[in-house]
Amino acid sequence: MDALLKGLPLLYLSACDAAKTGKNWQVFLPAASLVPAAKRLRAADYFLEDICALDCEEGYVVTYHFAHFEKPGRPSLRVVVPHDAPSLPSIASVFGGAEWHERETRDFHGVIFEGNPNFVPLLIDPDMADCFPLRKDPKSRSKTRDILEAGDVVFCDPSFTLMTPDAPAAGQESGGEKAATA
C-alpha cells in the first residue's frame, strides 16, 4: 500500500489489525489526491466495495473500501470533508460503480461529488431529497478518534491531528460541538 501510493500527497497512513477492523490499511487523503489514488488502485486491479460516510465531529469521514479479486486485504481510503461545505471530486470516471455509491452518499449525508455524471437522488424520493437522514445532530456526534482505530502509523502529516489522541480529556465535547455547528 505504501508503495502503491508513493508520491501522492497523503495525510495519514497506518496499518490496521485486519482481524478486528476488517481492513489492513487506512489512508487519509486530501481531497485533491483522491482521484489519483483511485486511479492507482484501479490500475492495480482493486475494485471498489463501497463508499461509506461517517458523520463525526470534525466532519464527514468518507471511506472508500477496496478489495482485490486475487489478493486478500482491504485497503481503505479516507477523506474528511467539513460539515459546512461537504464536497469531493467524483471517482466515477475511474470506477464505474462509484457513481451509485456517491449518489447514495449524497442521499444520506449530503456530500456533493463534483463530476458525477448523473448526480440525482438515487434511493430517496427527489421531493424530499434534502432531508439527509443519516446526518447526526451536532450533540450526538462523536470524535473520529473515538471510533476509528489509529493502527500502526506508517506516515503522518504534521498538520493531521484527527487521529492523535488529545491530552486533555476535558473540553472534548463543548469545543468540538461549536466547530461542528459552525
Binding site: I124, D125, D127, M128, C131, P133
Partner: protein, 181 residues
C-alpha cells in the same frame, strides 16, 4: 409529487344505483366476482415471495380461481399490496389502484402494508404508515410475512365480504397439521 394529493381520488363516475335491481342476478354476479379474483402481478417486498408461494403447487391459489396473475392493472380485480409502501412508491400504488377497473379490491398483506410494520419508528423518513392512508383496503392479512395460508384465508375473507357467505370450511383449531417432506 408533493403538490399532488397522493390519496386515491374519488372516481368521477359514481356507480349509480341500478335501474332495475334483480336480487338473484346481483347475487350471481357477486359469486362470480368472488370466485374469479384475478390479482395483479404486483409484489413490493418480502411478502411478494409468499404471494408467489401461494400461487405455487403447494398452496395453489388456482383452486379458488385466483391464479390468473395479470401484469396489467386494467385486467386485474385484486391488488395484493404485498410489502412495504415507501413514500417514493406511493404515487405509483395510487395510480395503479386508479387504473384498475371497478369493482376492485385490495388486500393489504403483511404488517408493512397494514401499518408500516417493523419499519415504523421514530424518525422514519420514507415510509407510508399503512397503505390504507392511500387507498381503501378490504382485507388486512397480518404477519411478517404472513404465511401462505394466511393469504388464502385473506382471500376467503374477501370472498365472504363480497358475497356475504363463507364458502369454504373454517380451518380446524387444533390441527391436523400437514407433515412436511
Amino acid at each position: 409529487m408533493a403538490a399532488q394529493n397522493l390519496v386515491a381520488q374519488k372516481p368521477d363516475v359514481i356507480v349509480a344505483d341500478p335501474l332495475l335491481n334483480i336480487g338473484p342476478a346481483q347475487q350471481i354476479m357477486d359469486i362470480c366476482r368472488s370466485m374469479s379474483l384475478w390479482p395483479m402481478t404486483f409484489g413490493l417486498a418480502c411478502c411478494a415471495i409468499e404471494m408467489m408461494a401461494v400461487g405455487m403447487a403447494r398452496w395453489d391459489i388456482a383452486r379458488f380461481g385466483a391464479e390468473v396473475f395479470r401484469p396489467s392493472p386494467r385486467q386485474s380485480d385484486l391488488m395484493i399490496v404485498a410489502g412495504t409502501v415507501s413514500k417514493k412508491m406511493a404515487p405509483a400504488v395510487v395510480r395503479l389502484y386508479e387504473q384498475m377497473p371497478a369493482p376492485r379490491y385490495v388486500i393489504a398483506m403483511g404488517n408493512c402494508a397494514i401499518s408500516g410494520g417493523p419499519f415504523k419508528f421514530k424518525g422514519q423518513y420514507g415510509m407510508v404508515e399503512g397503505v390504507d392512508t392511500l387507498i381503501p383496503v378490504d382485507v388486512y392479512v397480518p404477519g411478517c410475512p404472513p404465511r401462505p395460508e394466511g393469504l388464502l384465508e385473506g382471500l376467503f375473507k374477501l370472498q365472504e365480504k363480497i358475497t356475504g357467505k363463507r364458502f369454504w370450511p373454517n380451518p380446524p383449531l387444533n390441527g391436523p397439521y400437514e407433515e412436511g417432506m
